[in-house]
């Protein structure tokens, strides 16, 4: 049974290779499509028409930088894991979902296209990055 009401943002996670990004503080999935404009001399009242064009997507994440590989008895992606993924030319499997059966689950392959680590004096070090989707994502639901 899917989540009732509004999602709690804490529950929606980005998974990299099957594991969530450890100590994440926020994540965003963005999908977009370019519209091919079809304005011509026959367009009604000069308004442009449009056709579906190229789709693309990305997932961005922010969190605290940590070497932890286990949190709450679950394996998580550490900063080292993410840097290894960034350094790889091979696309990895990602997933954006909650853990509640029936909730929306978007999955696919991607590459980490940017990653930043910020370290201010006497503050928690933070990281942020972007996964660029490679190929078409799959729109499904969290299985039981």
């Amino acid at each position: 049974m899917p989540t009732a009401g509004v999602y709690n943002g804490t529950d929606l996670r980005v998974y990299v290779g099957g594991n969530v990004i450890g100590h994440a503080t926020s994540c965003t999935m963005s999908l977009s499509m370019e519209i091919r404009e079809t304005l011509d001399k026959d367009s009604v009242s000069g308004f442009a028409g449009g056709e579906a064009g190229q789709r693309s997507g990305s997932l961005s994440f922010e969190g605290l930088a940590s070497e932890d590989v286990t949190l709450n008895a679950a394996t998580v992606e550490s900063i080292a894991d993410l840097l290894t993924q960034f350094n790889s030319d091979t696309a990895f499997a990602w997933k954006f979902s909650s853990t509640t059966t029936g909730d929306v689950e978007v999955s696919g392959n991607g590459l980490i296209s940017d990653i930043s680590i910020s370290a201010a004096v006497e503050e928690n070090a933070t990281l942020s990055g972007t996964i660029t989707m490679i190929g078409a994502p799959t729109f499904g639901t969290v299985p039981a």
Partner: protein, 128 residues
Amino acid sequence: MNPETGVYELLSTNAPLTALVGSKIYPVTAPENTPTPYVVYSQLEEQQTLTQDGPVPNGWTFQVTIIGQNNFDSSAVARVVKTTLNWKTQLLDSGETIRTVFDDELNSSFDDEQKYFQTVQEYKARKT
């Protein structure tokens, strides 16, 4: 040991400070009629950062109040306290280490009722 007792360890084991105040270093409040000078420390805040995996500690704020019979006394002790706690590390029983850093100071206001001078300092502490 918690961070508060870590601060106490730093204060109570510093020879220049104990030379001035002896063992008169108290948590939260001093006993009534304690002779000056003395030091009172207390934890003001504990910060945490919320993550999707749960809260992560983000440091503590401490207040150290130095009480002296006159401005000279409280300022002299305050300078030693600052040397004792500014950018210092302390190993906790948990195996973690905290670092304390000076943050702010309110100089030697006079307490009309108690007839003493005090210097109030604030410090931040966090795990290294």
